[in-house]
Amino acid sequence: MTRRTFLGMPATAPPVTAPAGVGHLRGDESFPDAARRSLADPQLRRNLRHATTTIRAKSAGVIDEQADWEQLRAAGAAIKADTLHRLPDLLEQLEEKVTGAGGVVHWAADAIEANRIVTDLVRAAGADRVIKVKSMATQEIGLNEALEAAGITPVETDLAELIVQLGDDRPSHILVPAIHRNRAEIREIFLREMPGVDPALADDPTALAAAARRFLRETFLSTPVAVSGANFAVAETGTLAVVESEGNGRMCLTVPDTLITVMGVEKVVPTWRDLEVFLQLLPRASTGERMNPYTSMWTGVTPGDGPQAFHLVLLDNGRSAVLADEVGRQALRCIRCSACLNVCPVYERAGGHAYGSVYPGPIGAVLSPQLTGIEDNASLPYASTLCGACYDACPVKINIPELLVHLRAEAVESRPRPTAESIAMAAAAYTMDRPRLYAAGQRAARLSRLAGRRGRGLPPPLNGWTASRDLPEPPAQTFREWWAGR
């Protein structure tokens, strides 16, 4: 059956965003409230500082040795921009090629549909347990919760995802989901939650990895269905690609009888050759490796080799709405490398959980509000100083500061009534467009000592400044007064 897709077409109705009540794109509280709590945890701040500093240095080192890094970035951005420009056609080409190679393609408009499709497929395969390759898309839609509700046990096989799952925790980083945990905490979680763990488990990385391996090997060999995400899908060949560094993903992709891949529609690339660019960009920008350790690729089904049933679930879940926004759509170029998280001074202090969504850091601050609609994530575009480190680090040149500013305007426009801030901003703009009034305002600022010494008596929200910082003493004379008196 041929099905026309209308991604990114000019909308007559409001764009369809990701539904609420399912998945993990929305937090329970605003960014400042959530950040306040994580900032109060000194262990968390130490863990984050150590981890981000280490990854930053490693990544910068291998990027420096790549002479054509800037050209690679430009190529990556151009390929993605081209892909987004003709996404419907490329997706149909992908569907045709995957189907031709013995796979089955499913289209999921949102998280609810995607969860239902996967659950039905697992049931049809007669399984009550699935092994999972680390995947952002399945985190986004809350697949694990949906499977559990249907009596199916999902087992995360990525070491860090396993730590998060066993700890009944949430991932806090795209690539290193347990970045907020140190090894003593991980040992604690394993001892408490891992079936058959050695009670004498040490907290050195080798021992922890070995414990996870023993547990996972059993599971790999006894589970007939795997669920994965995808880093790339090549439209011209129908080839799916997953990159990972443990080999656990490859076990999932090769051992079971049935493989179900859930992929955001923006992960498609036009040609096989395009992978050459991304397989250079991704490892250096993400883990700081020159080459990705385990790159698994498969095209449909190969008789007698690997899974004999392959299902590809193409997920929209708000992506068409992002694509419809001329400025906002560049967020769909993201290849989930996490470089922007690792360089972000806000992420480094507040941590991933403060962003509420499975997509934390700068990219999360621009992607989550677009996927859900700005109303549900209105504080995220403000979770940045606009320092620009993310834009410099992005391997596909997403102008995140530009997007943040764009979304702030959307956040302001989405408010139904004037706020104290909007009134103050309008008043400031009015004054600043009238030099005499502006000069009078400057004098008033100087004469009024209502703020008290060093501004400590200021009302909210300005007391946010004075809690930790003195206000400067207003000068005896403004510059324009000095100039006039020369």
Binding site: F31, P32, A35, R36, L39, P345, V346, R349, A350, P381, Y382, A383, S384, T385, L386, C387, G388, A389, Y391, D392, E402, V405, R408, A409, A411, V412, E413, E421, S422, M425, A426, A428, A429, M432, D433, P435, Y438, Q442, R454, P461, L462, G464, W465, A467, S468, R469, D470, L471, P472, E473, P474, P475, A476, Q477, T478, F479, R480, W482, W483, A484
Partner: protein, 255 residues
């Protein structure tokens, strides 16, 4: 050369010493500084807080006021960044294509102080004297929007008597971010704490930068902790000579 001063609203109102220093420095180098008095604010605060519509009249004013000048200078990387990277966007967003193209033209003639000195006037030794131990915070917008690179440090290295000490993790943001500092005060303060730790580790007496906004933030923290480390704008250092004496951060405004 005739140079128009884009003073910036924050320097005009709260930190005039950075602006008067810019004037004294450029005049000492033999240039003619003019101050178009109809200027107010570039509108960056409005744009960055989500009020691009309210910023339109401010952009229009800025473009009208500065269009007659061939060379425009501001003692701020951030405000020049706004002129260069936001004004045309704000105009286009408001549907005013003509304003956008005029804004681009003005932006092409607007320079941050270190850019003006090194690139336009071709000078790195401005004849300054400043006998202090100084560390330099490069400020995010100078660094990543304008790419001023090493220019401020080239200028500082040529100052007689100045002992320039490298700031660890210099390229990390101080946590100011305009309204970020009040919308996310705890995160902002955590970033500031690390910046201050690095400043204090240098043993410098003075923390210099090319933006009074970042200096207001770092200085506000250093003052609250009574560290005794002063914040001084790059222009004030470059304006200092053996004759003029060296200004402190809170020096009174004198002609």
């Amino acid at each position: 050369m005739r140079i128009a001063l884009f003073v910036t609203c924050l320097a005009d109102t709260m930190f005039p010493q950075a602006a008067t220093a810019t004037v004294r420095l450029l005049e000492r180098l033999g240039h003619d500084v003019v101050f178009p008095t109809e200027q107010t604010c570039c509108g960056q605060m409005h744009v960055n807080t989500g009020y691009p519509r309210e910023a339109v009249p401010l952009v229009r004013r800025h473009v009208r006021v500065f269009d007659p000048y061939d060379v425009i200078v501001a003692p701020s990387g951030s405000c020049v960044g706004s002129v260069r990277h936001q004004h045309a966007m704000v105009a286009r967003r408001a549907g005013d294509v003509r304003l956008a193209s005029r804004a681009e033209s003005v932006a092409g003639r607007t320079y941050e102080l270190s850019e003006l000195l090194v690139d336009v006037l071709g000078v790195t030794d401005v004849g300054a004297y400043y006998p202090h131990r100084v560390t330099y915070h490069p400020t995010c917008h100078s660094l990543r929007m304008l790419r001023v690179g090493d220019r401020p440090r080239q200028l500082l290295r040529a100052v007689r008597g100045l002992d320039l000490v490298e700031l660890p993790a210099a390229e990390q943001c101080c946590g100011f971010g305009g309204t970020f500092a009040v919308k996310n005060p705890e995160t902002s303060t955590a970033m500031l704490a690390d910046k201050m730790r690095h400043v204090l580790a240098t043993g410098a007496d003075v923390c210099a930068a090319g933006d009074v906004s970042c200096l207001m933030h770092i200085g506000g923290g250093l003052s609250r902790l009574r560290t005794g480390v002063r914040t001084v704008h790059l222009a004030e250092i470059l304006a200092s000579t053996e004759q003029s004496g060296t200004p402190s951060a809170r020096s009174a405004v004198r002609s």
